[in-house]
């Protein structure tokens, strides 16, 4: 292009823009000023001027190149697509095993284990209301139960995600089960999905909690132990999902998650670990809401910020340590009980946002998740949705297909700014640990949840079938929910009682005392003692109760 042409082109663009402004003003129907959920103003049109203002192509770079706006790998979804990891867990270990083997037969390459809420809360099945057993996850109380869950599953080959809060009893049970079957721990791959104890304090979900200092200690021990003995395991998953489900805006969820990751990384460094060694094993887990472009921008911005933090703030030199690897789940909050089949469309749009955002692993919700743990039929549709998007709609043929979009790039920049400002608030409060201890993050999220509710109640945020386009109640599309078979659960309970009684009291007492000795000594690894306890036949509740006594219990804060 010769030089004199360039200015003329600019003038022409400006005129065209003026014409558009006039025509838009004349024709516009909806003149409201719009903002996205994170509070960023949204204009009706973005142009090249927005791209120039935000640094243009140079800032963007290419896939696989820092700061990874366009993706953490050169190949992205043209290489390995994403892992389809559906959450599974219901009933007894035998029920779970049957469901798991079915999934593996149909081609799943990664499994997950969701325990019963009683397990999350640190109780065994003989000390909770029987009505609640196995209704939301599988009842696993000891290594024998885990062995039954994973019967016929090649644990050395299939990646296993454990929904396993501190003190990581499920991983301990799995390691013992693998050991009994002669499987080398060096071969075991997967993720401790609930290692982010700070997120459990921010969002009161269903997790048992040690006191904050106790949880901090156990997490560091867990990471150190896994790095040494289960080297292919990802011990740290930093979770934004709980916070966004609890009401955080997309920008808040990303900011608080990155601030948590900084906290954990700095704790590891303080313990003498090398960021180039442990950061490549950090993964992230996010919610994908229906705010389509906002979610895409959230992921692109988060990726960029993390690369910079890993390099500049945490001092990692290896590019592998800068990569922001994440699993994402479509948001259940957006799903509706009314006209539930509409949820399939919602999940599709959410999944698309995650895919365009460059995810590494995806769980698509089943349309019936708004009233039950997914039925098998609904779960099949959720998996098919992923296959359709990838193989029929060709969403993955081009890497970062929205890269360079005037709107997406401008929004990515603005989300980045917003996220950075929120992270500054956390830094000013002394970091995420202190901010959570003081209830600061909980209050911010509570206020956002209230704001969102008001948007829905006022009709500003449309929810089809709920506050607009309402139809007669279509109860027939909500089939009756079946709970786990009570007789099978009773047998599971009876067997558990018998097995517990058959143990040597002296051996149990010794294993518990060893847990105490580990908890009281700075030289011992508490998670190592949990694994030893699991090997000696300790139950989930026994381990949790003892550590709660020795390391303190995490009471919830009351914030309305």
């Amino acid at each position: 292009m010769n030089k004199p042409d360039a200015p003329r082109l600019l003038v022409a663009t400006e005129t065209a823009l003026e014409r558009w402004q006039r025509e838009f003003k004349e024709g516009v129907v909806d003149e409201r000023e719009m903002t996205n959920v994170s509070g960023i103003p949204i204009r009706p049109l973005y142009t090249g001027a927005d791209r120039v203002a935000s640094g243009g192509d140079e800032r963007l770079g290419l896939p696989g190149q820092p700061d990874y706006t366009r993706g953490i790998y050169a190949t992205m979804h043209r290489g390995r697509t994403w892992t389809q990891r559906q959450l599974v867990g219901l009933g007894t270990p035998a029920d779970y095993n049957q469901r798991l083997l079915g999934l593996l037969e149909r081609g799943a390459t990664a499994v997950s284990l969701i325990p019963c809420n009683s397990v999350y809360r640190g109780y065994d099945m003989d000390s909770v209301e029987p009505e609640l057993l196995g209704t939301c996850g599988v009842v696993v109380n000891n290594a024998d139960h885990m062995e039954r869950c994973l019967e016929g599953v090649d644990v050395g080959r299939v990646s296993c995600a454990m929904n396993d809060p501190s003190p990581f009893t499920l991983l301990a049970f799995m390691l013992v089960a693998a050991e009994r079957r002669g499987i080398d721990w060096n071969k075991i791959t997967g993720t401790s999905n609930q290692s982010d104890y700070l997120s459990h304090y921010v969002a009161n979900h269903m997790f048992y909690r040690l006191s904050l200092p106790g949880a901090r200690r156990v997490l560091m021990d867990h990471i150190a132990y896994c790095r040494q003995f289960v080297p292919r395991w990802n011990p740290m998953s930093v979770v934004g999902q709980h916070m966004q489900q609890a009401g955080a805006t997309p920008a808040e969820a990303m900011a608080f998650t990155l601030s948590s990751a900084v906290q954990y990384a700095e704790d590891c460094i303080a313990r003498g670990m090398d960021p180039d060694e442990f950061l490549p094993r950090f993964t992230f887990f996010f919610d994908i809401s229906l705010s389509f472009f906002e979610e895409i921008a959230k992921f692109r911005a988060g990726r960029r910020i993390w690369a910079r933090i890993a390099r500049e703030r945490l001092g990692a030199k290896d590019e592998k340590a800068w990569r922001f690897k994440f699993h994402a789940q479509t948001s259940g909050v957006d799903l509706t009980r009314q006209q539930p089949l509409n949820n399939i469309a919602r999940v599709t749009a959410q999944a698309m946002a995650g895919i365009f955002g460059g995810l590494q692993s995806l769980h698509t919700d089943s349309y019936d998740e708004v009233f039950q743990v997914p039925s098998e039929a609904a779960a099949r549709i959720a998996v098919a949705t992923q296959n359709i998007l990838r193989e029929e709609a060709h969403l993955t043929d081009v890497i970062d297909p929205l890269g360079g979009s005037f709107y997406v790039e401008s929004l990515t920049d603005q989300m980045e700014e917003k996220i950075a400002a929120l992270m500054k608030t956390i830094d000013d409060a002394g970091g995420m640990y202190k901010a959570v201890e003081a209830g600061l993050v909980q209050r911010m999220i509570g206020a956002s949840a209230m704001r969102f509710q008001r948007r829905v109640d006022s009709g500003e945020q449309v929810v089809v079938g709920v506050n607009k386009y309402r139809a007669d109640d279509d109860a027939e599309s909500r089939p009756p929910v079946e709970r786990p078979d009570a007789a099978a659960m009773q047998r599971h309970l009876d067997d558990f009682r018998t097995a517990k009684a058959a143990r040597s009291n002296a051996a149990v007492a010794e294993a518990l005392d060893d847990l105490t000795r580990a908890a009281k000594s700075d030289d011992r690894n508490v998670f190592g003692a949990v694994v030893d306890g699991a090997r000696a036949g300790l139950t989930n509740e026994e381990i949790c109760t003892r550590l709660r006594r020795d390391l303190g219990f995490g009471q919830p804060l009351v914030i309305v």
């Binding site: 939301c136 909050v333 009351v558």
Partner: protein, 147 residues
Amino acid sequence: MNDDDFRPRVLVTKIGLDGHDRGSRIVAAACRDAGMEVIYTPPWQSIPAVVKLALEEDVDVVGISSLATDHLIVPKLVAALRDAGLGNVRVVVGGIVPDNEEKLLLDAGVREVFHPGSTMDDITGRMREYAREARRAEASADAGGPA
């Protein structure tokens, strides 16, 4: 008693194992903003703890928020309230409750189940109505009439 004088006393809580408290926090705040006396607790309350609180705080309505199947033990709570002489206290449930189990709850004496999609105005309006109902039943029982 006109509307300005009437201050419903409501307990908003969660029983059982799950702690997803976005719903209970929002409903508690909405009830407060609607002029009610709100007694709010963190999640994971036991049934005896809720009965004790309902008694001590002299509440008109107990609101149980449930996301992950904890509604299955609400019939036990209703029975425990009745056993403690709090049969006039109205119990409402909000959250994820399948249709077939909603019927079980209503049969057990739950006054209403609020599903996702209910507006805060819906919920606070009904809570106020049930509080008034509870207060009248209590007054009539005190006067020796039928509960």
